[in-house]
Symmetry: C2
Subunit: 400 residues, 2 copies
Amino acid sequence: MISVKEAEDILGRSLLPIHLETVPLDKSLGRVLAEEIVADRDFPPYNRVTMDGIAIKGAYYEKGQAVYKIEKVVAAGEPRYAIKDESSCVEIMTGAVLPDGLDTVIRYEDVTIENGEATILVDNVKTGQNVHGKGTDRTKGEPIVPKGRVMGAAEIAIGATVGKTHLKVHKLPSVVIVSTGDELVPIDQTPEPHQIRASNALMLQAAVQSLGLPVAIRHLTDDHEAVIKGVRQLLNDFEILVFIGGSSRGKYDYIPETLEENGVSRYFYKVKQRPGKPFWFGAREAGNQFVFALPGNPVSCFLCMEKYFKPWLKNSLGVVEHKEMATLKEDIHFKPPLTYFAPVRLEYKGGQYTAIPMSGQGSGDLANLADADAFMQLPEDQQTFPTGSTYPIIKYRHAL
Amino acid sequence: MISVKEAEDILGRSLLPIHLETVPLDKSLGRVLAEEIVADRDFPPYNRVTMDGIAIKGAYYEKGQAVYKIEKVVAAGEPRYAIKDESSCVEIMTGAVLPDGLDTVIRYEDVTIENGEATILVDNVKTGQNVHGKGTDRTKGEPIVPKGRVMGAAEIAIGATVGKTHLKVHKLPSVVIVSTGDELVPIDQTPEPHQIRASNALMLQAAVQSLGLPVAIRHLTDDHEAVIKGVRQLLNDFEILVFIGGSSRGKYDYIPETLEENGVSRYFYKVKQRPGKPFWFGAREAGNQFVFALPGNPVSCFLCMEKYFKPWLKNSLGVVEHKEMATLKEDIHFKPPLTYFAPVRLEYKGGQYTAIPMSGQGSGDLANLADADAFMQLPEDQQTFPTGSTYPIIKYRHAL
């Protein structure tokens, strides 16, 4: 039996090797970038007008000229124009190329236009204003988005701007969720009193999908031969195997021994925690296949998924997230020498989370998960966790 | 021109009407629940064993009996057994139904088993231990998950447990992103100096997709007839129209007038903010179609999307999120009487975010978005925002 810290360390050292693939930009949302996105030209690529109005040469304004003949109307998207008479102006739109010979833009609100002439009404015009100078953001060849970044809306916009129709990203591994146990019935059936519906597999499927990964679901019955055959096939087909149940020491739990017979080494079994103690983790020799066997109890399974499996999956894809914290609003007492993951409700005020412990604390209480927002991680070397103290939390509430 | 607060208030009062639809449970991730999920039977449905070990009647242990004849081995998934001799025991597995006549489970680690008998090695057995009593979590008919909850992995697990193969959820509206302007070229083409690639539409598409909504993309050229025809068709086909560019006062911006001619009332135009001032919002008479016209400047467009459009879309689906806060690590000065959305990098320590202002603060600086993690919302009635003060932030970094 190992500590939570040891389990985290082992998982952190046992990551899936990174493989790359190329995807279209508009399919890259949520993917981890494996190349730099680089400026393909200067940004902006020309002196860009940032207000609708008129463009002038500032030197004339500084000499006191208020009225300017309108030489042309320039829209965004027109090729660059060269002004013929620098003491004239053009009407010009946001996004347009500033004409050669001009350097300053005055917005429509600050001019009147009559009989082909614009009159400036304000006295605070500064030469160069309302112009976004060529190359001031990035010069051609400069990196804009670094490797390892998760592609979001901003990164996709930048990729589009520099013409990256395709991107190199980290390849997604193949994941299978494997439920075990004859007490499970499909969710569309009415279980006998001694049976339960197979909820854990759907739960894990949702969790993996929420990370954007495809995922398969399989079921193994409590039959030794079926387990042996099934495990071999799964190791053949998938990189990440997540078994549910089948890791505890009961007589009908053949999974760990079958895995070891098929070259999967046990990295750890049992973690000093509640819920989620009977948690098994291992890998195949080559280190390119990993196996999780999570406890069958729904809350234990959920905790191991949120605390270990999802962060491991993110780490394997190159994403490390900071741990969030919350401050206890009521005392918690917990005697066993185990790390206790207490279900808590969260309140957010003034930039910080406060955690309110839930009353029902049985690890089997699936309904409790619906009332809580997070687990609070309380260390094994304390028995009392006083109001006002701060501990890490694992938020799991889905917010669209 | 209205304030940020007024814009938020108008948007908050102008939500899409909620329609319902039924989806399969395993497709419900991220959807907003429109019914209660109710316990279909007691939870647990029987006295459930929570440890692998032996089950006894505690009264015999209390009378001093340490050795128990093993009457049977009971696995999870077997129908309920009734013990024949209450002074005997059964071997029993986690998840199994506790046999009638027994009430207490002792884990394997605390017993030895030899010659068909189990001997208890510990002296701290408590009657009722390691049994999760029938109906202690929820009784049949009790609600477990409330209406309005966004379906996450926990809610899906609960739905599966109670046999909800299908769920009533809020229907997703149809969204179209409409880019405008002749200066735009497709992203796979090399733009002339006066042209830019159409990045905003892909950015908005990614943002809408990240909320789980399907989204279409269209383009309108700067041609009055094309705009009139296009707007009519779009109003025919979609509930939410998001125009990019085309809302400012330039001569080539026909969108707002065409919208108004087609029965879309303007709710506001221009918000006292930087970036993102020329932001237009309206609705069609019946109040079941909404139109956003976001500024064409990429950073302005991005800000309006993160600050207004995404929260409005979430609100319309029934999801309200708390505003996150951060504390400034350096002073910011901003003189204009506008709400300033400052790009900041975030650090997380001890349960709170610290915000580091970015140097390049031009609203046109798309590259800046890649370096920052969030916008910090600084109120219009101040010019100096001192180190150590706390303001709302809009986090936009995608974390898988």
